[in-house]
Amino acid sequence: MRHTNLHRLWAVLLLLVVLCLPGFWWQPHQEKIVRANYQSLMAPVFFVPGSSATQNRFNALVKELNRESPTTHSLLRVEVMTNGRLEYSGNLKQGDERPFIVVGFQNHRDGPVNVRKQAVWFATAFQALEKTYHFTHFSAMGHSNGGLVLTLFMEHDLAKTKTKIDRLMTIATPFNLEEQDAAVDTDLFKELSGDRTNLPRNATVYSIAGSKTFASDGIVPFDSVNRGKYIFQDQVKHFTQITVTGANANHADLPENQQIVALIRQDLLS
């Protein structure tokens, strides 16, 4: 009887060892897999203002977002100088998992040439912040040309980093610049749609348009914002277009528009 019991025990232990074998064989590759799947607790939200606006552009928006919010998001402002040097103001609170980082540029002038330069400067700032804070994923919001800066960054420089973008929200971003003629494609639009296959497949993108006069938000033509679909659709995981009308729907007021603040809370920060 005792003999049979020991046989049973050996059988169980043998099965245990057999089941452990794949684990021993897999272990040398474990670190690489853990690193690849690792998601930092911190997932900052980047804000990029449009042309003519500085890194202080979103102060009011951040205040508004922190109001009625269960946790206060800390705010770091970064200004990228034309020589690539970074100037910081504000600070990231320890333990803040969703800090806000506003990236502005010393040269914040309008025009496709400047926008392309700003995208490169954004990449410089991003890489420095990634190195400092060790985040592996993030979200971003760009107002007006800020959306172009972020889209260019996603197409050209994101793959060089070790991070993934969760969500992008562009507000009144003129993907075809201020071109009034819907039949004309600007060079920047051609570049954005030509390189769209570089966009990350797992991102969720929202494009918000303001509408004041049925055709534009006062500055950016509706058609130019609407062209976001030719860039993001079928490239990213989800692409949603939203049009906001009513009070504060003109181009400059959009970031403080209550409907858009609600959309940022709901779609970007939730």
Partner: protein, 428 residues
């Protein structure tokens, strides 16, 4: 000394036998036996789904399942459905079975027995209904959550309430009355009363009975600081499982902030310096959870080391695969460990001993702390090895814990076997 131990053992065996002779407990034991095949099937489906088909599963990762298995998504959906239909309804099944077995000794009529079970099921559902659908006058919607293995205890309580009520009504039935009208009267009365109680519940409470119960028992685990410490957690969790609240109660599987910070520290810096070396994840989940809560693999080994009864042997073999993947429900229901006074002692004692030993070893820095996420279904003793990125000392500690637990379980398993033989002898 030996005599004293023998006397104590006899006393414990007699206590267990007396406990199981109790009418209520006997019905619960029979009910647990009845639902065992369903729990086993559900646990196997859960085990396969979580460890073979999910990306964070042990076999999925180590055997590269995605490379050679087709239709993984459909298989996952299929197994999830089986799990939901079996483990997901365990509470309801227990309510039926307990009520049924309570009525069996007092009536020959199958109608009465089945009706007692049916009333228990309906009563349980009266307390698990969407509040807005009842109060808002919409189509009634039944709540399906929390009726699974976490709801076994609620199922038992409702079954005991309804079963005893039905017994009482049968005892007061007029002997002149024919069977069918009397069943009708008892059934209708019970349902009318239980529906009233159910309505009272939904109009005063915002959640279903099972959800309310689940949040009450989860409450102590949400305390901001672990005032009771790791041992306190272990005792509380063990006590709930012993009462029949199976399944995870708190997020101890590695998702806490401490675990995330530990992982970040390991990945960001050279060396293996962790900011939080002693947490639920690094001690309890890894070293005191081999085979599931209560060191169930140690119980299985102790069972095979001793002279198991035919029933225990069958349960042991059938539960082997889920237990090796740390799914303890089949052993808890099959043996059963649930509501067995003798089993409660090692069930609490073994993990507590493992926690103490492991805590000491980590504290003295004899073994590195676990930082990597644990893969679901990893064979218990291997969890420490993989969690520490391949530390042999961690594996040795895990094996030492397993041997220690087996030694703790062994004498109690022998006593339980003696008690079961006595009870089975009576039945035979």
């Amino acid at each position: 000394m030996t005599d004293r131990i023998a006397q104590l053992g006899m006393r414990l065996v007699n206590g267990e036998v007396r406990f199981y002779r109790n009418r209520q407990i006997s019905a619960i034991r029979q009910a647990l036996r009845l639902i065992f095949p369903i729990i086993l099937l559900g646990s196997l489906a859960d085990f396969l789904e979580q460890s073979w088909l999910r990306t964070d599963g042990y076999y999925y990762q180590t055997l590269h399942v995605a490379r050679w298995l087709f239709q993984v998504k459909i298989l996952r959906q299929y197994l999830r459905l089986i799990g939901a239909g079996t483990l997901g309804l365990a509470g309801i099944l227990m309510a039926f079975a307990v009520s049924f077995y309570l009525v069996v000794p007092v009536t020959r009529h199958m109608t009465d027995r089945l009706m007692a079970g049916t009333i228990a099921v309906i009563s349980l559902k009266f307390f698990n209904v969407t509040r807005t659908s009842v109060l808002g006058g919409h189509t009634i919607k039944w709540v399906a959550t929390d009726l699974g293995i976490q709801g076994i205890l609620v199922g038992i309580l409702v079954g005991v309430l309804v079963g005893n009520g039905y017994r009482w009504a049968l005892g007061h039935r007029s002997p002149d009355l024919e069977q069918i009208p009397s069943t009708l009267v008892i059934t209708c009365t019970w349902l009318v009363v239980m529906a009233a109680l159910g309505l009272l519940w939904v109009s005063t409470q915002t959640v279903s009975l099972n959800s309310a119960f689940a949040s009450i028992i989860r409450w102590p685990f949400r305390l901001p600081h672990f005032i009771l410490g790791l041992l306190g957690y272990c005792v509380l969790n063990g006590a709930f499982e012993w009462l029949g609240v199976l399944g995870p109660l708190s997020a101890s599987s590695g998702q806490s902030i401490e675990s995330a910070q530990n992982l970040a520290a390991v990945l960001a810096h050279r060396g293996w310096q962790l900011p939080h070396p002693l947490t639920l994840h690094t001690v309890v989940s890894v070293y005191a959870n081999v085979g599931g809560t209560g060191m169930m693999l140690a119980l299985l080994l102790a069972l095979f080391l001793s002279r198991p009864t035919a029933w225990q042997r069958r349960i042991g073999w059938l539960s082997l695969v889920p237990t090796l993947g740390n799914f303890n429900a089949p052993m808890m229901v099959g043996l059963p460990v649930i509501l067995s006074p003798l089993m409660s002692i090692p069930f609490i004692l073994a993990p507590s001993a493992c926690i103490t030993l492991s805590w000491l070893c980590i504290r003295l820095k004899w073994v590195p702390t676990v930082a990597y996420p644990l893969l679901t279904g990893t064979p218990g003793p291997l969890q420490a090895y993989l969690g520490t990125g391949g530390s042999w000392t961690a594996l040795a500690l895990s094996l030492a814990d397993l041997i220690l637990s087996t030694a703790i379980y062994y004498p109690f398993v022998k006593l339980v076997q003696a008690a079961h033989r006595q009870l089975d002898g009576e039945v035979a």
